[in-house]
Protein backbone atom coordinates (compact mmCIF):
# COMPACT_ATOMS: atom_id res chain seq x y z
CA UNK A 1 0.00 0.00 0.00
CA UNK A 2 1.09 3.49 -0.75
CA UNK A 3 0.58 4.61 2.81
CA UNK A 4 3.03 2.01 4.05
CA UNK A 5 5.44 2.69 1.24
CA UNK A 6 6.04 6.26 2.21
CA UNK A 7 5.05 6.05 5.86
CA UNK A 8 8.36 7.16 7.26
CA UNK A 9 8.93 9.87 4.74
CA UNK A 10 5.40 11.16 5.19
CA UNK A 11 5.85 11.55 8.91
CA UNK A 12 8.91 13.65 8.32
CA UNK A 13 7.24 15.69 5.66
CA UNK A 14 4.39 16.45 8.03
CA UNK A 15 6.81 17.64 10.66
CA UNK A 16 8.49 19.91 8.18
CA UNK A 17 5.10 21.20 7.12
CA UNK A 18 5.49 20.14 3.51
CA UNK A 19 2.98 18.19 1.50
CA UNK A 20 3.97 15.25 -0.54
CA UNK A 21 1.95 14.39 -3.58
CA UNK A 22 2.32 10.96 -5.04
CA UNK A 23 -0.44 8.68 -6.14
CA UNK A 24 1.40 5.77 -7.65
CA UNK A 25 0.25 2.37 -6.50
CA UNK A 26 3.34 0.17 -6.19
CA UNK A 27 4.35 -2.68 -3.94
CA UNK A 28 6.29 -1.86 -0.79
CA UNK A 29 10.08 -1.41 -0.98
CA UNK A 30 10.14 -1.12 -4.75
CA UNK A 31 10.60 2.63 -4.78
CA UNK A 32 12.79 4.95 -2.78
CA UNK A 33 11.99 8.56 -2.14
CA UNK A 34 14.92 10.78 -1.17
CA UNK A 35 14.16 12.43 2.19
CA UNK A 36 16.11 15.48 1.08
CA UNK A 37 15.07 16.32 -2.48
CA UNK A 38 11.99 14.06 -2.59
CA UNK A 39 13.01 12.59 -5.91
CA UNK A 40 11.60 9.10 -6.43
CA UNK A 41 13.73 6.33 -7.87
CA UNK A 42 13.71 2.57 -8.09
CA UNK A 43 14.98 0.98 -4.90
CA UNK A 44 17.30 -1.25 -6.96
CA UNK A 45 18.79 1.76 -8.66
CA UNK A 46 19.24 3.55 -5.33
CA UNK A 47 20.94 0.55 -3.76
CA UNK A 48 23.13 0.02 -6.76
CA UNK A 49 24.31 3.59 -6.30
CA UNK A 50 25.47 2.81 -2.74
CA UNK A 51 22.30 4.35 -1.25
CA UNK A 52 23.18 7.75 -2.64
CA UNK A 53 20.38 9.78 -4.25
CA UNK A 54 21.09 10.07 -7.96
CA UNK A 55 19.45 13.46 -8.12
CA UNK A 56 20.79 15.46 -5.16
CA UNK A 57 23.67 13.28 -3.91
CA UNK A 58 22.12 12.71 -0.48
CA UNK A 59 24.02 9.92 1.31
CA UNK A 60 21.62 7.63 3.19
CA UNK A 61 22.98 5.59 6.10
CA UNK A 62 24.41 2.16 5.40
CA UNK A 63 24.32 -0.95 7.51
CA UNK A 64 27.69 -2.29 8.66
CA UNK A 65 27.57 -5.17 6.20
CA UNK A 66 26.57 -2.95 3.30
CA UNK A 67 29.62 -0.82 4.10
CA UNK A 68 31.90 -3.83 4.27
CA UNK A 69 30.62 -5.00 0.86
CA UNK A 70 31.16 -1.56 -0.67
CA UNK A 71 34.67 -1.20 0.75
CA UNK A 72 36.51 -4.49 1.05
CA UNK A 73 37.88 -6.36 -1.95
CA UNK A 74 35.42 -9.17 -2.80
CA UNK A 75 35.94 -12.20 -0.58
CA UNK A 76 38.75 -10.60 1.43
CA UNK A 77 36.85 -9.79 4.64
CA UNK A 78 37.37 -11.95 7.73
CA UNK A 79 35.45 -10.88 10.80
CA UNK A 80 37.21 -10.42 14.17
CA UNK A 81 35.58 -11.09 17.54
CA UNK A 82 32.25 -11.82 15.91
CA UNK A 83 30.76 -13.43 19.02
CA UNK A 84 31.52 -10.59 21.43
CA UNK A 85 28.38 -8.92 22.78
CA UNK A 86 26.95 -6.67 25.47
CA UNK A 87 25.52 -7.75 28.82
CA UNK A 88 23.67 -5.70 31.43
CA UNK A 89 26.43 -4.78 33.91
CA UNK A 90 24.61 -2.21 36.06
CA UNK A 91 21.05 -3.55 35.88
CA UNK A 92 19.70 -0.72 33.78
CA UNK A 93 15.94 -0.53 33.23
CA UNK A 94 14.80 -2.29 30.08
CA UNK A 95 18.33 -2.73 28.69
CA UNK A 96 18.30 -6.55 28.24
CA UNK A 97 14.99 -6.39 26.37
CA UNK A 98 16.24 -3.53 24.21
CA UNK A 99 19.40 -5.46 23.36
CA UNK A 100 17.38 -8.53 22.50
CA UNK A 101 14.99 -6.63 20.23
CA UNK A 102 17.79 -4.76 18.49
CA UNK A 103 19.71 -7.95 17.86
CA UNK A 104 16.65 -9.53 16.34
CA UNK A 105 15.89 -6.50 14.17
CA UNK A 106 19.44 -5.99 12.89
CA UNK A 107 20.99 -9.45 12.93
CA UNK A 108 23.96 -7.85 14.71
CA UNK A 109 25.28 -8.70 18.17
CA UNK A 110 26.42 -5.15 18.83
CA UNK A 111 26.98 -1.79 17.16
CA UNK A 112 30.41 -2.43 15.64
CA UNK A 113 31.68 -4.92 13.08
CA UNK A 114 35.45 -5.34 12.78
CA UNK A 115 37.62 -7.48 10.57
CA UNK A 116 40.66 -7.88 8.37
CA UNK A 117 40.37 -7.29 4.64
CA UNK A 118 42.09 -5.69 1.71
CA UNK A 119 41.04 -2.50 -0.05
CA UNK A 120 42.22 -2.30 -3.67
CA UNK A 121 44.88 -4.82 -2.78
CA UNK A 122 46.16 -3.16 0.40
CA UNK A 123 45.63 -5.25 3.54
CA UNK A 124 44.16 -3.47 6.55
CA UNK A 125 41.99 -3.84 9.61
CA UNK A 126 38.57 -2.30 9.16
CA UNK A 127 35.87 -1.27 11.62
CA UNK A 128 32.32 -0.21 10.84
CA UNK A 129 29.68 1.14 13.19
CA UNK A 130 26.00 0.53 12.48
CA UNK A 131 23.61 3.25 13.58
CA UNK A 132 20.65 0.87 13.60
CA UNK A 133 22.05 -0.74 16.74
CA UNK A 134 20.93 1.64 19.51
CA UNK A 135 22.32 4.53 17.44
CA UNK A 136 25.71 2.77 17.47
CA UNK A 137 26.24 3.87 21.05
CA UNK A 138 29.51 2.64 22.55
CA UNK A 139 29.28 0.35 25.55
CA UNK A 140 31.70 -2.28 26.84
CA UNK A 141 31.25 -4.67 23.91
CA UNK A 142 31.68 -2.04 21.20
CA UNK A 143 34.63 -0.56 23.09
CA UNK A 144 36.24 -3.98 23.40
CA UNK A 145 35.76 -4.79 19.71
CA UNK A 146 37.23 -1.42 18.70
CA UNK A 147 40.18 -1.79 21.08
CA UNK A 148 40.91 -5.31 19.84
CA UNK A 149 40.78 -4.08 16.25
CA UNK A 150 43.55 -1.57 17.01
CA UNK A 151 45.50 -4.20 18.92
CA UNK A 152 45.16 -6.72 16.08
CA UNK A 153 46.32 -4.10 13.59
CA UNK A 154 49.28 -3.30 15.85
CA UNK A 155 50.18 -6.96 16.25
CA UNK A 156 50.05 -7.59 12.51
CA UNK A 157 51.65 -4.26 11.56
CA UNK A 158 48.56 -3.25 9.56
CA UNK A 159 46.89 0.09 8.94
CA UNK A 160 43.35 0.54 10.23
CA UNK A 161 40.32 2.17 8.62
CA UNK A 162 37.37 3.08 10.81
CA UNK A 163 33.92 4.07 9.58
CA UNK A 164 32.44 5.87 12.56
CA UNK A 165 28.80 6.54 13.38
CA UNK A 166 27.49 6.93 16.89
CA UNK A 167 25.18 8.71 19.26
CA UNK A 168 27.96 8.58 21.87
CA UNK A 169 28.65 6.54 24.99
CA UNK A 170 25.92 4.00 25.84
CA UNK A 171 24.19 5.33 28.94
CA UNK A 172 22.72 1.90 29.75
CA UNK A 173 26.16 0.70 30.89
CA UNK A 174 26.90 3.79 32.96
CA UNK A 175 30.52 4.65 33.66
CA UNK A 176 31.79 1.48 31.99
CA UNK A 177 30.78 3.11 28.70
CA UNK A 178 32.56 6.37 29.44
CA UNK A 179 35.75 4.45 30.12
CA UNK A 180 35.61 2.88 26.64
CA UNK A 181 36.54 6.32 25.34
CA UNK A 182 39.86 6.19 27.20
CA UNK A 183 40.38 2.55 26.28
CA UNK A 184 39.85 3.05 22.53
CA UNK A 185 41.85 6.30 22.42
CA UNK A 186 44.70 4.56 24.24
CA UNK A 187 44.66 1.65 21.79
CA UNK A 188 44.73 4.13 18.88
CA UNK A 189 47.75 5.82 20.49
CA UNK A 190 49.71 2.59 20.76
CA UNK A 191 48.92 1.74 17.16
CA UNK A 192 50.08 5.21 16.11
CA UNK A 193 53.28 5.06 18.15
CA UNK A 194 54.27 2.00 16.12
CA UNK A 195 54.24 4.18 13.01
CA UNK A 196 51.06 2.67 11.59
CA UNK A 197 48.39 4.49 9.61
CA UNK A 198 44.90 5.17 10.96
CA UNK A 199 42.26 6.56 8.63
CA UNK A 200 38.90 7.66 9.98
CA UNK A 201 35.83 8.00 7.80
CA UNK A 202 33.22 10.02 9.65
CA UNK A 203 29.73 9.00 8.55
CA UNK A 204 26.26 10.14 9.51
CA UNK A 205 25.91 10.64 12.46
CA UNK A 206 29.16 10.74 14.47
CA UNK A 207 28.64 12.46 17.81
CA UNK A 208 29.28 12.46 21.56
CA UNK A 209 31.80 10.17 23.18
CA UNK A 210 32.88 8.62 19.88
CA UNK A 211 33.70 12.04 18.43
CA UNK A 212 35.49 12.76 21.71
CA UNK A 213 37.64 9.65 21.43
CA UNK A 214 38.96 7.43 18.63
CA UNK A 215 36.91 9.03 15.80
CA UNK A 216 38.83 12.31 16.07
CA UNK A 217 42.25 10.69 16.25
CA UNK A 218 42.93 9.46 12.72
CA UNK A 219 46.12 10.48 10.93
CA UNK A 220 43.78 11.25 8.08
CA UNK A 221 40.14 12.10 8.69
CA UNK A 222 37.69 11.79 5.82
CA UNK A 223 33.96 12.43 5.95
CA UNK A 224 30.98 11.63 3.78
CA UNK A 225 29.10 14.61 2.31
CA UNK A 226 26.42 16.03 4.54
CA UNK A 227 27.21 13.76 7.50
CA UNK A 228 26.26 15.10 10.92
CA UNK A 229 29.41 15.31 13.01
CA UNK A 230 29.77 16.95 16.40
CA UNK A 231 30.25 16.61 20.11
CA UNK A 232 27.03 17.87 21.68
CA UNK A 233 23.58 17.16 20.31
CA UNK A 234 21.78 19.88 18.41
CA UNK A 235 19.00 20.22 20.96
CA UNK A 236 21.48 20.40 23.83
CA UNK A 237 23.30 23.29 22.16
CA UNK A 238 20.05 25.04 21.30
CA UNK A 239 19.07 24.66 24.94
CA UNK A 240 22.35 26.24 26.04
CA UNK A 241 22.33 29.20 23.67
CA UNK A 242 18.52 29.60 23.56
CA UNK A 243 18.40 30.00 19.81
CA UNK A 244 18.07 27.88 16.68
CA UNK A 245 21.22 26.60 15.02
CA UNK A 246 21.91 27.16 11.33
CA UNK A 247 20.95 24.26 9.07
CA UNK A 248 24.52 23.29 8.09
CA UNK A 249 25.84 23.43 11.66
CA UNK A 250 27.88 20.28 12.52
CA UNK A 251 27.83 19.06 8.92
CA UNK A 252 30.89 17.43 7.36
CA UNK A 253 31.34 20.62 5.33
CA UNK A 254 31.19 22.73 8.50
CA UNK A 255 33.91 20.58 10.07
CA UNK A 256 36.12 20.82 7.05
CA UNK A 257 35.89 24.59 6.97
CA UNK A 258 36.82 24.67 10.67
CA UNK A 259 39.86 22.48 10.17
CA UNK A 260 38.71 19.18 11.65
CA UNK A 261 38.35 17.07 8.49
CA UNK A 262 41.01 16.49 5.84
CA UNK A 263 38.63 15.89 2.96
CA UNK A 264 35.04 15.16 2.13
CA UNK A 265 34.76 12.16 -0.16
CA UNK A 266 31.53 11.01 -1.74
CA UNK A 267 30.62 7.37 -1.30
CA UNK A 268 31.27 6.46 -4.91
CA UNK A 269 34.87 7.70 -4.63
CA UNK A 270 35.58 6.37 -1.16
CA UNK A 271 36.92 2.94 -1.99
CA UNK A 272 39.37 4.38 -4.45
CA UNK A 273 40.41 7.17 -2.06
CA UNK A 274 41.07 4.66 0.72
CA UNK A 275 42.95 2.34 -1.61
CA UNK A 276 45.09 5.25 -2.74
CA UNK A 277 45.84 6.44 0.81
CA UNK A 278 46.71 2.91 1.95
CA UNK A 279 49.00 2.44 -1.05
CA UNK A 280 50.71 5.78 -0.33
CA UNK A 281 51.67 4.40 3.08
CA UNK A 282 53.13 1.15 1.77
CA UNK A 283 56.79 2.11 1.84
CA UNK A 284 57.51 2.38 -1.87
CA UNK A 285 57.15 -1.32 -2.73
CA UNK A 286 54.79 -0.45 -5.59
CA UNK A 287 57.38 1.59 -7.45
Amino acid sequence: MLQDLFGKVKKRAAVEGKKKTSDMDVPQNLLFQCPKCRAVMLMDEFEENGKVCRKCGHHARLTAWERVRLTADPGSFRELDGSLMACDPIGFEDYPRKLENTRRATGLLDAVVTGICSIQGSPCVIGVMDSRFMMASMGSAAGERITRAFETALEKGLPIVFFTASGGARMQEGMLSLMQMAKTAGAAKRHSDAGLLYVTVLTDPTTGGVTASFASLGDIILAEPGALIGFAGRRVIEGTIKQKLPEDFQSAEFLRSHGFVDEIVSRGELRHALGHLLALHRGGERR
Binding site: L84, M85, E144, A232, I241, F260
Partner: protein, 262 residues
Protein backbone atom coordinates in the same frame (compact mmCIF):
# COMPACT_ATOMS: atom_id res chain seq x y z
CA UNK B 1 22.90 8.56 52.21
CA UNK B 2 21.26 8.31 48.77
CA UNK B 3 23.06 9.21 45.57
CA UNK B 4 20.79 12.22 45.27
CA UNK B 5 21.76 13.41 48.77
CA UNK B 6 25.38 13.33 47.67
CA UNK B 7 24.62 15.26 44.49
CA UNK B 8 22.88 17.97 46.50
CA UNK B 9 25.81 18.07 48.88
CA UNK B 10 28.49 18.47 46.22
CA UNK B 11 26.44 21.11 44.45
CA UNK B 12 26.03 23.17 47.61
CA UNK B 13 27.66 26.58 47.92
CA UNK B 14 30.03 25.65 50.74
CA UNK B 15 31.71 22.75 48.94
CA UNK B 16 35.45 23.60 48.77
CA UNK B 17 36.89 24.11 45.28
CA UNK B 18 40.30 23.87 43.66
CA UNK B 19 40.88 27.49 44.65
CA UNK B 20 40.48 26.54 48.32
CA UNK B 21 42.72 23.52 48.05
CA UNK B 22 45.70 24.96 46.20
CA UNK B 23 46.99 27.20 49.02
CA UNK B 24 46.22 24.51 51.60
CA UNK B 25 48.04 21.70 49.77
CA UNK B 26 50.81 23.35 47.76
CA UNK B 27 53.59 25.91 48.17
CA UNK B 28 54.57 28.59 45.68
CA UNK B 29 51.79 27.96 43.16
CA UNK B 30 52.34 29.78 39.87
CA UNK B 31 49.33 29.91 37.56
CA UNK B 32 50.07 29.40 33.85
CA UNK B 33 47.61 30.67 31.27
CA UNK B 34 46.55 29.87 27.75
CA UNK B 35 46.60 27.06 25.23
CA UNK B 36 48.98 28.88 22.78
CA UNK B 37 46.40 28.25 20.06
CA UNK B 38 43.32 30.32 20.76
CA UNK B 39 42.92 31.69 24.27
CA UNK B 40 42.80 31.12 27.98
CA UNK B 41 39.84 29.29 29.46
CA UNK B 42 39.03 30.40 33.01
CA UNK B 43 37.03 27.17 33.54
CA UNK B 44 40.32 25.27 33.84
CA UNK B 45 43.07 26.41 36.13
CA UNK B 46 46.59 25.11 35.86
CA UNK B 47 50.07 25.78 37.11
CA UNK B 48 53.13 24.53 38.92
CA UNK B 49 53.87 24.34 42.63
CA UNK B 50 55.63 22.28 45.25
CA UNK B 51 53.90 19.45 47.05
CA UNK B 52 55.86 18.58 50.20
CA UNK B 53 58.96 19.84 48.44
CA UNK B 54 58.39 18.03 45.12
CA UNK B 55 57.59 20.17 42.06
CA UNK B 56 54.23 19.16 40.59
CA UNK B 57 51.83 20.33 37.90
CA UNK B 58 48.31 21.01 39.18
CA UNK B 59 45.31 21.32 36.87
CA UNK B 60 41.58 21.29 37.49
CA UNK B 61 38.18 22.67 36.64
CA UNK B 62 37.16 25.78 38.55
CA UNK B 63 33.86 25.74 40.38
CA UNK B 64 32.98 29.19 41.65
CA UNK B 65 32.37 29.87 45.32
CA UNK B 66 29.82 32.53 44.45
CA UNK B 67 27.87 33.66 41.41
CA UNK B 68 30.52 36.08 40.24
CA UNK B 69 33.26 33.44 40.31
CA UNK B 70 30.95 30.97 38.64
CA UNK B 71 30.15 33.35 35.82
CA UNK B 72 33.82 34.03 35.27
CA UNK B 73 34.65 30.32 35.15
CA UNK B 74 31.53 29.38 33.15
CA UNK B 75 30.30 27.17 36.02
CA UNK B 76 33.33 24.90 35.52
CA UNK B 77 32.28 23.92 32.02
CA UNK B 78 35.39 24.18 29.81
CA UNK B 79 35.65 25.17 26.18
CA UNK B 80 38.12 23.30 23.92
CA UNK B 81 40.90 25.78 24.77
CA UNK B 82 40.61 24.70 28.40
CA UNK B 83 41.43 21.11 27.51
CA UNK B 84 44.18 22.25 25.17
CA UNK B 85 45.70 24.33 27.96
CA UNK B 86 45.51 21.33 30.28
CA UNK B 87 47.26 19.16 27.71
CA UNK B 88 49.93 21.79 27.11
CA UNK B 89 50.69 21.88 30.82
CA UNK B 90 50.73 18.10 31.03
CA UNK B 91 53.28 17.90 28.21
CA UNK B 92 55.34 20.49 30.05
CA UNK B 93 55.14 18.34 33.18
CA UNK B 94 56.35 15.36 31.16
CA UNK B 95 59.35 17.35 29.92
CA UNK B 96 60.39 18.26 33.45
CA UNK B 97 59.36 14.91 34.98
CA UNK B 98 56.87 16.54 37.32
CA UNK B 99 53.96 14.41 38.54
CA UNK B 100 50.56 15.72 37.41
CA UNK B 101 47.76 16.16 39.92
CA UNK B 102 44.33 16.66 38.34
CA UNK B 103 41.27 17.90 40.20
CA UNK B 104 38.06 16.93 38.41
CA UNK B 105 35.06 19.08 39.25
CA UNK B 106 32.73 19.81 36.32
CA UNK B 107 29.14 19.27 35.24
CA UNK B 108 30.64 18.57 31.79
CA UNK B 109 32.31 20.13 28.77
CA UNK B 110 30.47 23.23 27.59
CA UNK B 111 27.93 22.75 24.80
CA UNK B 112 27.68 25.91 22.75
CA UNK B 113 28.32 26.83 19.13
CA UNK B 114 31.84 28.07 19.72
CA UNK B 115 32.87 24.83 21.41
CA UNK B 116 31.72 22.93 18.33
CA UNK B 117 33.46 25.35 15.98
CA UNK B 118 36.71 24.92 17.87
CA UNK B 119 36.41 21.14 18.12
CA UNK B 120 35.28 20.16 21.61
CA UNK B 121 35.32 16.49 20.64
CA UNK B 122 38.82 16.68 19.19
CA UNK B 123 40.14 18.56 22.22
CA UNK B 124 38.87 15.90 24.63
CA UNK B 125 39.97 13.03 22.38
CA UNK B 126 43.48 14.49 22.16
CA UNK B 127 43.73 14.59 25.97
CA UNK B 128 42.75 10.91 26.30
CA UNK B 129 45.18 9.96 23.55
CA UNK B 130 48.22 11.83 24.85
CA UNK B 131 47.62 11.15 28.51
CA UNK B 132 47.67 7.41 27.96
CA UNK B 133 51.39 7.61 27.16
CA UNK B 134 52.43 10.73 29.09
CA UNK B 135 55.77 9.84 30.66
CA UNK B 136 55.14 11.04 34.19
CA UNK B 137 52.80 9.92 36.97
CA UNK B 138 49.21 11.21 36.73
CA UNK B 139 46.87 11.22 39.73
CA UNK B 140 43.25 12.31 39.27
CA UNK B 141 40.91 13.21 42.11
CA UNK B 142 37.19 13.80 41.61
CA UNK B 143 36.40 16.60 44.06
CA UNK B 144 32.66 16.85 43.47
CA UNK B 145 31.03 16.43 40.09
CA UNK B 146 32.59 14.32 37.38
CA UNK B 147 30.49 15.09 34.32
CA UNK B 148 31.07 12.69 31.42
CA UNK B 149 33.68 13.33 28.70
CA UNK B 150 34.42 16.78 30.08
CA UNK B 151 35.61 15.10 33.27
CA UNK B 152 37.31 12.13 31.62
CA UNK B 153 39.60 14.53 29.72
CA UNK B 154 41.35 15.00 33.07
CA UNK B 155 40.81 11.40 34.13
CA UNK B 156 43.23 9.23 32.17
CA UNK B 157 45.52 8.55 35.09
CA UNK B 158 47.56 6.04 37.05
CA UNK B 159 45.18 6.19 39.95
CA UNK B 160 41.68 7.61 40.24
CA UNK B 161 40.57 8.79 43.66
CA UNK B 162 37.05 9.89 44.53
CA UNK B 163 36.19 12.18 47.40
CA UNK B 164 33.76 10.21 49.56
CA UNK B 165 30.71 12.14 48.32
CA UNK B 166 31.84 12.78 44.77
CA UNK B 167 30.00 11.35 41.78
CA UNK B 168 31.24 10.58 38.28
CA UNK B 169 28.74 9.84 35.54
CA UNK B 170 28.48 9.11 31.83
CA UNK B 171 25.42 11.38 31.58
CA UNK B 172 23.74 13.74 34.02
CA UNK B 173 20.91 12.00 35.87
CA UNK B 174 18.63 14.68 34.46
CA UNK B 175 19.73 13.96 30.90
CA UNK B 176 19.30 10.24 31.49
CA UNK B 177 15.77 10.68 32.88
CA UNK B 178 14.82 12.88 29.92
CA UNK B 179 15.97 10.28 27.42
CA UNK B 180 14.73 7.19 29.22
CA UNK B 181 11.40 8.36 30.60
CA UNK B 182 10.97 11.68 28.76
CA UNK B 183 10.69 13.10 32.26
CA UNK B 184 13.66 15.04 33.68
CA UNK B 185 11.97 15.28 37.07
CA UNK B 186 12.77 11.58 37.63
CA UNK B 187 16.47 12.46 37.92
CA UNK B 188 16.70 11.06 41.46
CA UNK B 189 15.78 7.57 40.24
CA UNK B 190 18.19 7.89 37.32
CA UNK B 191 20.95 8.92 39.72
CA UNK B 192 20.57 5.65 41.64
CA UNK B 193 20.36 3.50 38.53
CA UNK B 194 23.46 4.95 36.84
CA UNK B 195 25.78 3.83 39.68
CA UNK B 196 27.84 6.98 39.99
CA UNK B 197 29.01 7.11 43.63
CA UNK B 198 32.56 6.58 44.83
CA UNK B 199 31.60 3.15 46.16
CA UNK B 200 29.96 2.20 42.84
CA UNK B 201 33.06 3.16 40.88
CA UNK B 202 35.28 1.20 43.23
CA UNK B 203 33.09 -1.87 42.66
CA UNK B 204 33.11 -1.37 38.87
CA UNK B 205 36.91 -1.25 38.87
CA UNK B 206 37.04 2.36 37.67
CA UNK B 207 38.25 4.14 40.82
CA UNK B 208 41.05 2.85 43.06
CA UNK B 209 40.57 4.95 46.16
CA UNK B 210 37.93 6.73 48.20
CA UNK B 211 39.19 9.72 50.18
CA UNK B 212 37.14 9.92 53.38
CA UNK B 213 35.62 13.33 54.04
CA UNK B 214 35.52 14.96 57.50
CA UNK B 215 32.22 15.35 59.33
CA UNK B 216 31.34 18.41 57.29
CA UNK B 217 32.75 19.38 53.95
CA UNK B 218 32.31 23.04 54.88
CA UNK B 219 35.74 22.66 56.46
CA UNK B 220 38.27 23.26 53.68
CA UNK B 221 41.22 22.60 56.01
CA UNK B 222 39.79 19.22 57.03
CA UNK B 223 39.01 18.31 53.44
CA UNK B 224 42.52 19.37 52.37
CA UNK B 225 44.03 17.22 55.17
CA UNK B 226 42.19 14.19 53.82
CA UNK B 227 43.53 14.85 50.31
CA UNK B 228 46.99 15.47 51.76
CA UNK B 229 46.92 12.13 53.58
CA UNK B 230 46.13 10.42 50.29
CA UNK B 231 48.65 12.28 48.15
CA UNK B 232 51.48 11.95 50.65
CA UNK B 233 51.09 8.17 50.63
CA UNK B 234 50.70 7.94 46.87
CA UNK B 235 52.91 10.30 44.87
CA UNK B 236 56.25 9.03 46.11
CA UNK B 237 55.26 5.45 45.23
CA UNK B 238 54.46 6.38 41.66
CA UNK B 239 57.72 8.31 41.30
CA UNK B 240 59.61 5.09 42.06
CA UNK B 241 57.99 3.08 39.24
CA UNK B 242 60.06 2.92 36.02
CA UNK B 243 58.29 4.84 33.23
CA UNK B 244 57.79 1.80 30.97
CA UNK B 245 56.10 -0.08 33.75
CA UNK B 246 54.05 2.95 34.74
CA UNK B 247 52.70 3.31 31.19
CA UNK B 248 52.00 -0.40 30.86
CA UNK B 249 50.07 -0.34 34.14
CA UNK B 250 48.14 2.73 33.02
CA UNK B 251 47.16 1.08 29.74
CA UNK B 252 46.17 -2.12 31.52
CA UNK B 253 44.09 -0.21 34.07
CA UNK B 254 41.80 1.10 31.32
CA UNK B 255 42.20 -1.92 29.06
CA UNK B 256 40.43 -4.21 31.50
CA UNK B 257 37.43 -1.95 32.15
CA UNK B 258 34.20 -3.25 30.68
CA UNK B 259 31.83 -6.20 30.99
CA UNK B 260 30.65 -8.25 28.03
CA UNK B 261 29.89 -11.78 26.90
CA UNK B 262 31.88 -13.81 24.44
Amino acid sequence: MTTWDRIELIRSKNRPTIRDYIPLLFDGFVELHGDRLYGDDPAILGGIARYRGTPVTVIGQVKGRNLEENKRANFAMPHPEGYRKALRLMRQAEKFRRPVILFIDTPGAFCDMESEERGQGEAIARCLYEMMTLKTPILSIVLGEGGSGGALALGVCDQLAMMENAVYSVISPRGCASILWKDPSREKEAAEMLRITAQDLLELGIAETIIPEPETHADPAGMARAIDDYLSQTISNYLKIPIDKLLQNRYDKFRKIGQFLE
